[in-house]
């Protein structure tokens, strides 16, 4: 217990003694009423609710009415009842303006600052001449028009606030969207690298056999793939395929098609039979009605015998070591996944030493340049003709370079896939 707290308690005791209980409760009542009035004033003057808006609109209407009535009053020879009605109206208007003026003072946090502010003075000028009376106050009353400026200003201010708020909300939403998009993009990137990762990275090692491949995915996820399958009897299965459409569905279907084909290739050593089985398997698990074009061939590395079947794919080319280029255009079958129970004929071709097999998807021949011209089959054949004597890797590189040069600034709309195989090279 120290000295100061003792004295403060003594002061409180003294105060209790000097103020009679009745007066205290009256003061409490006054304080309560004052708080209520202030609350009411703030609700009407500063509020955003329907009452505040209605009150504000009422004031605007009254201002316009009172200014208009000044004009009407100046018309000479008005009947007496009109003059009297206008006078009564003026009294009502001034009463409401006075009420509003008082509310503004009550609602203001700093009352003196409000009274002497520009707006406060205009509000006062709007009503003061009526109370002063006795002289022609019409031009002073016309100053009430200035009050409209206040309302307009308030509304502009309010609108600015709303715009600011909405802008902030929009910015927040944009940020959230950008974040979600970045996440989605990152996930797609992962999916795309997974897709690329399941493509074989190297051609199976066999004496006298060389192979190279490249898949350049389009900007959206695509469904091209190639595959090398090592078969039990030492033969090599070679696949190139293109799933219809783009995006995640195509990528999924590609993975399903590749897995099925790989599995069935080991069991069915005839290419046509393998495609027929794969087709039936795909038709049974194809909820999105996608399909895939597949060229499948089996090379016997010892003899150079090539057996192939085609499910709706662009026929590959063989560049003979002696020079001529042939198309592997034996009759094909329907794309895989479209209809169950269809057959695929198997064809056979004898490769000679140094012959080169070129498999591609339509992303190659249907690459566009900025003037919407197609790369086309002829450019591909020309490249194979000119550069086919080198290694498969070199030819793949040459063709990709040629497509890139041709396309220039045109966007790549489809996956570009190439596989080259040379048999019996020294």
């Amino acid at each position: 217990m120290d000295h100061s707290s003792l004295s403060s308690r003594a002061r409180t005791a003294r105060a209790r003694l000097t103020v009679p209980p009745v007066l205290r409760s009256v003061r409490q009542l006054i304080e309560l009423v004052a708080a209520k009035v202030r609350g009411f004033a703030q609700l009407l003057i500063e509020g955003r609710g329907p009452y505040a808006r209605a009150f504000e609109n009422l004031i605007v209407v009254l201002i316009i009415f009172s200014v208009a009535s000044i004009g009407v009053e100046s018309i000479p020879g008005l009947p007496g009842w009109v003059m009297r009605a206008l006078h009564v109206a003026e009294i009502i208007v001034v009463a409401i303006f006075t009420f509003e003026y008082l509310l503004r003072i009550i609602a203001a946090r700093n009352k003196l600052a409000f009274i002497f502010s520009y707006q406060g003075l205009i509000d006062l000028v709007a009503i003061a001449p009526f109370y002063a009376g006795g002289f022609d106050t019409r031009w002073v009353r016309a100053l009430r028009l200035l009050r409209l400026l206040r309302v307009l200003k308030l509304q502009t201010h309010y609108l600015e606030k709303v715009v600011e708020e909405r802008t902030r909300e929009l910015a927040d939403k944009n940020a959230a969207l950008e974040k979600a998009q970045a996440q989605l993009k990152a996930e797609l990137e992962v999916a795309r690298s997974l897709q690329l990762a399941i493509l074989p990275s190297a051609f199976p090692a066999r004496p006298g056999c060389q192979g190279a491949a490249r898949m350049i995915p389009a900007t959206t996820m695509g469904g091209d793939f190639y595959d090398y399958i090592e078969l039990p009897d030492g033969q090599i299965g070679l696949v190139i395929a293109d799933v219809s459409g783009h995006g995640v569905p195509a990528a999924f279907f590609m993975a399903v098609a590749r897995t099925n084909l790989r599995e069935l290739a080991v069991r069915h050593t005839d290419p046509g039979e393998c495609l027929a089985q794969t087709n039936d398997a795909l038709c049974a698990q194809n909820p999105l009605d996608l399909f895939v074009t597949v060229f499948y061939c089996i090379l016997d590395p010892k003899t150079g015998v090539l057996r192939y079947a085609n499910g709706g794919h662009n026929p590959p080319y063989v560049r003979r070591a002696a020079g001529p280029i042939e198309s592997l255009n034996g009759a094909g079958g329907l794309v895989l996944g479209a209809m169950t129970g269809v057959g695929y004929p198997t064809h056979t071709m004898q490769l000679l030493r140094g012959d080169q097999l070129v498999l591609y998807t339509d992303g190659v021949t249907e690459a566009f340049n900025p003037t919407e011209e197609l790369y086309g089959v002829q450019r591909l054949v020309d490249e194979v003709h000119m550069h086919g004597s080198g290694t498969p890797a070199a030819l793949v590189e040459r063709i990709c370079q040629s497509i890139t040069n041709f396309a220039g600034t045109a966007p790549q709309s489809d996956d570009i896939t190439l596989t080259v195989l040379t048999w019996g090279a020294p």
Partner: protein, 115 residues
């Protein structure tokens, strides 16, 4: 791509003009579905002004052919340009969807009961 529709007594003809690629395929597919919804006597796609078909375009044709078969509406293609015809032959689609050299032949074949 632009799409025109001609309603004849024997068939409704959908005439795609330009490139039927990945971007155009959904609109094309939707038009075919809506046309089939109107229960036409037959649905014929006139390819005289069709310059290019991608795999997504082929898929739209395949879905329409299946839907037409379910609805019992004869479905056929006609007047394909050589490059487009080649795509249909290569993919094997011309074996499961009727392709006629011109519209008159397609209309003649598109009698009810002759899919």
């Amino acid at each position: 791509m632009n799409l025109r529709i001609e309603t004849l007594a024997q068939a409704t003809c959908v005439i795609p003009e330009g490139r039927l690629d990945f971007d155009a395929a959904p609109g094309f597919q939707e038009t075919l579905e809506r046309t089939l919804g109107g229960k036409p006597a037959a649905l014929i796609i006139d390819g005289a002004a069709l310059e290019y078909v991608s795999s997504a375009g082929l898929r739209a044709m395949l879905l329409a052919a299946r839907a037409a078969q379910r609805a019992g509406v004869p479905f056929a293609l006609c007047a394909l340009q050589p490059a487009v015809r080649e795509v249909f032959d290569l993919s094997g689609f011309s074996r499961i969807i009727a392709v006629h050299p011109d519209r008159a032949t397609a209309l003649a074949h598109a009698q009810p009961g002759r899919a």
